[in-house]
C-alpha cells in the first residue's frame, strides 16, 4: 500500500535467556520488515516470543539473563544493535515509542499523568516546562480525554482502564515517533473501549503517518487493523502475509488451525475445530518443526519430525515455514504433474 520504503527491518534476530534450567530460546531467527505508515501485526499465543521480539527492537531485553545473540535490526538506516546505550536512548521513546498491555502497572502511581507526559517531552525535546505542560494538555485532548486541563493534574488511580490506556498513548506519541510498538494495547480492556482505542490509534496514524507494530493474540484485531501480519509459534515466525491474504488463504497448518478453532459470530455449529495438544515449553521444544506434534501432517512425517523448515517465500510477500505448505497455484501445478502426491498434500 505504501511504497515509501522500509522503516524498520529485523534480520534474523535470536534472543535467548540464560536461566539455571537451561537456555530459553525465546526468539529464533525472526525476520520481518515494516514499511513507512504501515501497521504490521505480530500475532501468536502467549509465550510464543512476540513480546520479546518487541523488547529486542527497543533493546529492553533484561540483561544479563537475556541477550540478543545474533541478527541485526536496522531502523532508518541505523543499526540499532551496534548503537551505544546513549545513542539508543535518543531513539527509544523519541523515534520508537512503546505502549504496554497493562495500563495500570506501566504508569507511575505517585505522579500525576501530566508530570509523566511532561517528563517524556522534556527528555527528548528542548522545551520549557510551561511549554511542555501545554503540550501535555494538547496531547490529552488529541487522545480524546474530556476536560484535559483538569485531567492533566490527576493521578492514574483516578482514571478508568480505557482512560489510562489513552494516557499511555498520549505519552507515547507526545514526541511524534515514527514507529509505535503497541504490545497487546487492548487486551485488558472491554470490547467497546477496545474499539475506541483502536480507532484512536488509526486516527493518530493518519495524522502523523507513523508506523505501528501491533502485537496481539486477537486475530480479529489483526483482520481489521493490520496491513501485514506475521504469525509466530514457539519462538519462530511461521507465516508472513498481507493480512487479507492470510485470512483468505492461510498456508501454515498452525494458522489454519487457529482460524478454524476461533468461535466467530454466526458460527453456531455443534463443535469447534481444535488444535490438539498444547504449546510446547521453550525448554523442551520438539526436534524438527516445532508444530509437528500438533500437526495432522507433521505427526506422521519423518522430515517434519527431524528437520526444521525455514521461512521461505512461496510468492512475493507471502512466506511460510512449512515443508508441505503450498498455495493454490502451486497445488494446481502439483496436481498436473503427479495426481497422487497432490492428493496426499491436500489431506
Amino acid at each position: 500500500m505504501n511504497d515509501n520504503g522500509t522503516l524498520l527491518s529485523v534480520e534474523d534476530i535470536s534472543t535467548h535467556f540464560f536461566t539455571e534450567e537451561g537456555v530459553v530460546k525465546a526468539v529464533q531467527d525472526v525476520s520481518f520488515a515494516i514499511m513507512k505508515g504501515q501497521t504490521f501485526a505480530l500475532v501468536g499465543e502467549s509465550g510464543c516470543g512476540k513480546s520479546v521480539t518487541a523488547l529486542s527492537i527497543m533493546r529492553l531485553v533484561p540483561e544479563p539473563q537475556g541477550k540478543i545473540v545474533s541478527g541485526e535490526i536496522v531502523f532508518e538506516g541505523k543499526k540499532l544493535l551496534s548503537l551505544s546505550e546513549k545513542g539508543m536512548r535518543q531513539i527509544r521513546g523519541n523515534e520508537i515509542a512503546m505502549i504496554f498491555q497493562e495500563p495500570m502497572t506501566s504508569l507511575n502511581p505517585v505522579y500525576t499523568v501530566g508530570n509523566q507526559i511532561v517528563e517524556a517531552i522534556k527528555l527528548h525535546q528542548k522545551k520549557s516546562t510551561s511549554q511542555a505542560w501545554s503540550d501535555a494538555v494538547e496531547m490529552l485532548r488529541r487522545v480524546g480525554i474530556s476536560d484535559p486541563q483538569q485531567r492533566v493534574r490527576e493521578y492514574p488511580h483516578q482514571m478508568s482502564g480505557g482512560m489510562r490506556q489513552r494516557i499511555m498513548i498520549a505519552m507515547a506519541v507526545s514526541c511524534e515517533p515514527v514507529l509505535l510498538i503497541a504490545d497487546e494495547p487492548t487486551t485488558a480492556l472491554d470490547v467497546t473501549i477496545q474499539a475506541q482505542i483502536l480507532d484512536l490509534l488509526d486516527r493518530l496514524q493518519e495524522q502523523n503517518g507513523m508506523s505501528i507494530l501491533l502485537i496481539t493474540h486477537d486475530l480479529g484485531v489483526v483482520a481489521e487493523r493490520a496491513d501485514d501480519v506475521a504469525v509466530m509459534y514457539a519462538s519462530r515466525i511461521v507465516e508472513v502475509a498481507e493480512s487479507r491474504q492470510l485470512f483468505a488463504e492461510p498456508l501454515h497448518p498452525y494458522t489454519q488451525g487457529l482460524l478454524e478453532s476461533l468461535p466467530r459470530l454466526g458460527i453456531t455449529a455443534g463443535r469447534l475445530q481444535t488444535i490438539s495438544g498444547t504449546v510446547p515449553e521453550p525448554l523442551h521444544f520438539p526436534a524438527g518443526c516445532k508444530f509437528h506434534p500438533r500437526c495432522p501432517v507433521g505427526r506422521e512425517d519423518r522430515r517434519c519430525q527431524t528437520v526444521e523448515p525455514k521461512l521461505r517465500e512461496v510468492r512475493p510477500g507471502r512466506c511460510v515455514a512449512c515443508w508441505y505448505a503450498r498455495d493454490r497455484r502451486q497445488r494446481a501445478e502439483d496436481r498436473r504433474q503427479s495426481p497422487e502426491s497432490a492428493a496426499v498434500d491436500e489431506g
Partner: protein, 371 residues
Amino acid sequence: MTGKVAVPATAKRKRRKNIEQGISNVEAKVPNMVNTNDYLLRVAGLKTYFPVKKGLLQRTIGYVKAVDGISFGIQAGQTLGLVGESGCGKTTVARSIVRLVPATEGSVVFDQTDVLSADRVKLRELRRQISLIFQDPFGSLNPRMTVGNIIGESLKVQKKAAGSELIERVTALLSKVGLSPDHINRYPHEFSGGQRQRISVARALALEPKLVICDEPVSALDVSIQSQILNLLKDLQDEFGLTFLFIAHDLAVVEFFCDIVAVMYMGKIVERAAKEELYRNPLHPYTRALMSSIPQVERDPSPSRRGRRTTLGGEVPSALNPPAGCAFHPRCPLAEGVCLKQMPVLEEKGDYEGHFVACWKCQKKLIIDNG
C-alpha cells in the same frame, strides 16, 4: 411425553448418547422444553447492593447496586449466557445465586428450593448440586494441594466417597476431562493453563451437579486451548445433561455455547432472547454496539471493516453514581427525552416470543389482533 417434532437438536444428541450407553429411561432424561414451568433455576428480582462506608464511624454513605433487579430462568439441560463488560455485575449474579455474597432482595429458586432462605443443611445440599468453574485457572486451584486432593476434596467434605473409592472416582473424573490418571499426585504448577482449567472442570463435576456456573471459563486461555475447553464442556453437557449458567464477555463464544442470552449493563439485564433471535435481530442499542465492536475475522478477501463500525463513545459510568433514567443513555445514540428521566423496564418486544428488551426507543411488539 415429548412429541417427536418438539425434541430440540441438543436433546436428540443427548438421547443418542444415552442410547449408546444403554440407558433405558431416555424419556426421563430428555428435558421437556415445551413446558415453561420446569425451570431448574429461577431468579426473580434479584438485587445485590454493596454498602459504601466512609469516615471514622464507617457510616454507610451509599450503595453500589452491583445487581439491580434481575430475573431469568434456566430450564434443565439448557445453557443461559450472561454477557456484559467488566463491572456490569455478571459475576455478582453468580455469587449471589450460590450465596457467596448475600443478596439484598429477590428470590432464587433452584429445583423447588428457595436458595436465599435455605438453612445450613439445605445450603450444603444445594452446593452439592450447583458447582462453579472460575476464570483464572491459576488463582482458583490451591497450589499446595495435589490434583487428586483438589478434585476429591468436595467428595470428602460431602462424605460421598473415601479411601480407594475416592481415588477411583477421581481417576474416572480425570479421564473424563481428558487428563491422564497419573496426574493425580501432581501439583497445579506442573500444568498448563488449559490443563488447569480441565482440573477445575473435573472438580466442578465431582459431585455430579445439576447446574454448573461457569464464570468466564475460557477468557484466560489461548485461542487454540479455548476451543478445546468449550468442546469439552459441550460434550460433558451432552453426556450428563448438565445445565449451565455461562458468564462471558465474548459474544462469539456465547453464540457458540448458549441457548439463551441475556445482556447486562450496569447491574440490569437490558436484553434477553433465544440465541438465534438475539444475534439475528439485536434490538437494544447496547447489544448492537457490543456486536459491532467485536473485531471479526472475515475469511473472504473483501475490503476490511475498518471505518465501517459504529464505535460506542464514552465509558461505563461509575456504579456509585449511576445516571438518572436509562443507565445507558449517556452513551446511547438514540437517547432523548424520556430516556434521560425514566428507567425503561424489560418488556417483550420484537417479532418473536421471548425477546425481552429494556429500551424506550425499541419498537413495541406487533400485536396481531384476530378478534
